[in-house]
Structure formats: C-alpha cells, structure tokens
Amino acid sequence: MPAASRAGSRAPKGTPRDPAKKTIPNVLQFSKEEELHAYREMLLIRRFEEKAGQMYGMGLIGGFCHLYIGQEAVVVGMQMAAQEGDQVITGYRDHGHMLVCGMDPKGVMAELTGRRGGYSKGKGGSMHMFSKEKNFFGGHGIVGAQVSLGTGLAFANWYRNNGRVSLTYFGDGAANQGQVYESFNMAALWKLPVVYIIENNRYAMGTAVTRASAQTDFSKRGLSFNIPGEQVDGMDVRAVRDAGRRAIDYCRSGQGPYILEMQTYRYRGHSMSDPAKYRSKDEVTRMREEHDPIEQVRRRLLGEWKVSEDELKTIDAKVREIVNEAAEFATHDPEPDPSELWTDVLLDA
C-alpha cells in the first residue's frame, strides 16, 4: 500500500468549495490491478444506471428511482477498503452499493422492474433490497432512517465482538435529520465500530448544501461527540480508499465511530422525475469534464499504466454484456403472483 497521506484527503478550511474546482491533489497511488478493478466496478455501476434510466424512460421501471451516476468512486473506493463481513447500509440511492457488495445485477434490475426474480420478489423496488449473504442491509426510503439502523449493526458487531465494521452511508440532506445526532452520541458513547459516510453530492433533493446546512463542512458534524472526521475528494477513488482504510482501521481497533465526508456530485436529478433545473448546465458539464471519477482512472490506465484502448474496450464490452443480460432478465422475468401479497407479512396473519 502506498504511504497514506492524511493531507491528501483534506480539503482546505474556510468557505465551501466550488464543486467544479479541483483543490485536492491526487498523490495516492493504486497498483495497475487496483486501477483496473476500480475502473471495472465504477463502469458497471455507470452502465447499470444508464440502462436503468433508459428502462425507466421506456416505462419498464416505475415509481422512485435514484441514479448514482457521478458518485461511483465513493462506494467503489470504500468497498476496496472494507473487509469481507463488514456491513453496508444506505438510503434509496442504493444500486451502486448493491453492485459493489457483489449482489447479482440481474436480481437488482429485476427488482427495479418489479419481477419475481428481483431481490425482494418485486415487493421492494429500487429503494428496498437486502442481501444477508452479501452483508447489504438495505435500501431504505426514509431520509436518514438508515443511520440509526447502521448504528445498530455496529452495536451487534460490538455485542458479538466479531471484528466487523458497519459502513453507514447517507447524504448531505440526511445529515440534517435529528436522529443522526442521536446515533453519533450513542455510537461515540459506546465506541461502536461504524463509519458514517456522508455522500455530499451538493444537493439535498433540489436544495444546494449552502442553502440547507449551517455547517457545510460535514466532517465537523461529529466534533461535539469527539468523533474524528475527514473531508475526502469523493471523485477520486484512490483518495476514497485511502481515507476509508484509515476510518475502518480506526473503528475496527475499537476506538469508536468515524465520519467521512465524501465530496462528490450527482450528474442526474435527485430522482427520475427531477429535471435538476436548480443548477446550471455549465456546472454539470464542468464536473463531468474535469472530475469524472471513471475518466480519471481511464486516463491513468492509458497513460501511466500503458493499458491499450483495446484492453479497455474489452472491459467495456464485458460490462455492457452483464448489464444487457440483467436488463434482458428484468424485462422477461414474470411479475409476482398476487398471492405474494400475503407472504412475509407476519408469522401468523
């Protein structure tokens, strides 16, 4: 592992950064294999989400659907820092988290289309999937509600002394919910192994961070509970993994919770029904052109690592194949039988 640079993942103090302005130097190195892994994982999320967006447009997916495009480096970098058995829990922008946890893209896409082969048998939809096998604990639709649940996962780790860490994700909007601070207090009080990962994509639904948050440096949100925090360039998968390792090690060693503010950006609207008119096209374009998490890795692979365009095309083709298979499955898998209405309600009713 390259020397970890704490300074490298810290944003300068003071006023909130211009989202399009690069202030954090990339000094953290990945091996070629790690770059390729990150590239493939991020590309899988992006292509999956693009396909989901298309299928939504075709009417195959309905209701609420929140795409992760632009934020891929966060969950990929964190999962590269995590160990087998660590838990992941998040809100409703959850497709990327499930894919990096190793959940089957077919099962995820079929849940989006509400089919019986979906992870929740068509009963949950985009926002509600779960996999005990892959340690993914949902998929939750109430803003911020997963934060106390993630704290509970950490409590169970502590209770069983199993050495696992709970990776609890939420957004900059959820960070203003009250129960987040009840969770911070309890986790710090009991020294629970939980990393609170605040995915600051700069907009809480349609409201800019600066209009919704009195303290926009989310890494400081745990200060009064003595929870350490860092601001991380969430568009650079290397910076994410580096900070993730530091945070996870800290939690695993029994010192209590840790906060990571991931400075990231979502390219699409809050959900499919949001045209995102609250920001300029120019802002989005600049983020895509100058900070795209996948493009950053792609440039390094082609430059520093001398990987050929053909090799990358092969990866692209494989990813597209996986996504197309998932879409195919999700389109043709049958809808749930009406009798499914009555299963998994209660033991005896």
Partner: protein, 325 residues
C-alpha cells in the same frame, strides 16, 4: 405456584429468556437502575451492562439501533417507558421494523420486542396516559400484545421474545403492582393470538383487553347478582386477535359489548364490532355496543381523568340494556 406482581412476572420472563438465549438483550433509558417501574430490577446485576444497556434519552436511535441489531440476528428488547414517548421512534418502528421483512422479500426478519407501557396512571395527564394499541394494530407487519395479568405478562413476554417478528408489547402502568399466581416453569409460555375466557356466561359477551378486563370482571360479578350471566373475554393480543373465540362466544350469547380504556373512536373495539356485525348479523339479538374513552386528551385532575374512564357502572348499565331489550 408462586405469587408475583405483574412487574416481577415480566422480569422473570426476561431473565429466563436471557439465560436461555445469549442473543437476547435489552436497551432503554434507566434500565441499569431497574427501569422506571422496577420491571428490570436485578437484571443488570445478573447479565451485565452489555446485555441490559442504559441508553441516552434518544428514542429514535434506541429503536433504530435495535432494528439494525435485530437484522443482525440479535433479539433486542426495547424499553420505551411510556407509549407516549415511543412516538419519538414511530418512524423506526412503523417504517423500518414493520416493513423490513415484507419489502425485502423475506430476506430479513426483525425479532424485536418493544415495551410500551400504556394507560391511565393517576394524574399522569395527557402525555403519560395514552393507550395507543389501535395505532399499531393498524400497521401490517406488527404484532400487538396487551397482557392483563401477571401470568400472562410472563407467558406472553416470553412468546414475544421468541417471536421472529416485531412485537409491540403494551403493559398497563396501573397493573405493575397487581399480584397473581405465575407458573415458575421455564417452558411456560402463552401463545400470541389466543384469547382467554376469564368468566363464562350465556347471556352476553364482553370483550376487553389490558387493565379494562379487571373492570369488566367486576361488572360481570355485579351482573350475576342481577341474574345476568356475562362471558368475559380477554383478547390478550390485538394482532393477531382471536376472532374464532369471540365469534363462537357471540354466536352462543347473541349479544356483544366491547369495553376499552382507549379512545373509542377508531379504536380496536370498532374492529371487533365490525367483524362480529359482518359475520354474525343473524345471530345478534341486540345491536353491538362499544364503551371507550371520549375523544379528548386525558386530564390531570382526578375528576376529569375519571370522566374518561369506562367504569364498572357503565358496563353494568350497558349490559343490562342489551339483555333487557
């Protein structure tokens, strides 16, 4: 059989289940000192603060953390102290605990017991007296239990702890000191969903639950002196509820009176009344009657508080009216 109070019976249930299953733990405010009603007395000494956890005054996080820990396969008992305070944690209970099993297609279960003491407790006033059992009976995914005796409090609490789904367990604050015979047997449980016929009779069926059952029994004794034999049924759990037992009784008596301490409007009595009316219309010899609290907050001053209670006299008079029609 030993005599125990309602509070002691619950304590015994928890102690037995914690000895039996290391996955069982309890969390809530002031548990270390035995709980605000003494219902956890001695447990921290036996099981340690890791398993009988004193939590900050943070109901939402207590409930949410318990849901997460339950998804991990532990079996938390959550103490909310008053059903009124549990309202701070309704999102975690209703949106998370109740929905997880279904909306995740059976991928997870939430084996959680939420203790939410209910009921009027002299001069506790509007925010410490509510009986909100009907709220939870309305929510798919929740089990709702309202024990009325020490024996049931032991047997039902043990069943609730063993239940793989979230149970809203509503003890009545006025019953903590009630004494009764309680089986000592570790294997003694009371199945959830089975009503108890407290008193048999052929003239009229009185359905109730929680502390109100004891008022109904007194009313039935008074009715007996006037030649009216009332059958008193304690539902014990509101979801699932023992429809079969109630329907069989009303089929026999032809008359139904439901008495509840909670607000009558949209209360669980309405569900019982509607079910009987739908299924036994022809067997009914008189209209179904409900008695419950008025739709007003509970008062502090005793005369006003009492005005919200369903008294023995109200039950006797209503029952007589039904039988004499």
């Amino acid at each position: 059989m030993p005599f125990m109070t309602y509070a002691e019976a619950s304590r015994a249930a928890i102690a037995e289940e914690m000895r039996r299953d290391p996955a069982v733990w309890a969390v809530g405010e002031d548990l270390g000192r035995g709980g605000v009603f003494g219902q956890y007395k001695g447990l921290v000494e036996e099981f340690g603060p890791e398993r009988v956890s004193d939590a900050p005054i943070s109901e939402a996080c207590i409930m949410g953390a318990a849901v997460g820990a339950a998804m991990m396969g532990t079996r938390p008992i959550v103490e909310m102290r008053f059903s009124d305070f549990a309202l701070c944690a309704v999102d975690e209970l209703v949106n998370q605990a109740a929905k997880a099993r279904y909306m995740f297609g059976g991928q997870t279960r939430v084996p959680l017991v939420v203790r939410e003491p209910i009921g009027m407790w002299r001069s506790s006033a509007a925010q410490h007296s509510q009986s909100l059992e009907a709220w939870y009976a309305h929510i798919p995914g929740l089990v709702v239990v309202c024990p009325s005796t020490p024996a049931d409090n032991k047997g039902l609490l043990k069943s609730a702890i063993r239940c793989d789904d979230p149970v809203v367990y509503m003890e009545h604050k006025n019953l903590w000191g009630l004494e009764g015979e309680v089986p000592e047997d570790d294997d003694f449980t009371v199945p959830i969903g089975e009503a108890r016929v407290v008193r048999e009779g052929g003239d009229l069926t009185i359905v109730s639950w929680s502390a109100q059952v004891h008022v109904c029994v007194k009313a039935a004794e008074a009715l007996a002196t006037r030649g009216i034999k009332a059958e008193v049924i304690d539902l014990r759990s509101l979801w699932p509820w023992d429809k079969a037992r109630v329907l069989a009784s009303v089929e026999k008596t032809g008359r139904l009176l439901i008495a509840q301490e909670s607000v009558s409007v949209a209360g669980f009595g309405a569900e019982v009344a509607a079910t009987v009316a739908e299924r036994l219309h022809k067997a009914l010899k008189a209209p179904v009657k409900r008695l419950g609290a008025p739709r007003a907050p509970i008062s502090y001053a005793p005369p006003l508080e009492d005005a919200a209670r369903v008294s023995k006299e109200m039950i006797v008079n209503t029952a007589e009216g039904l039988v004499r029609t």
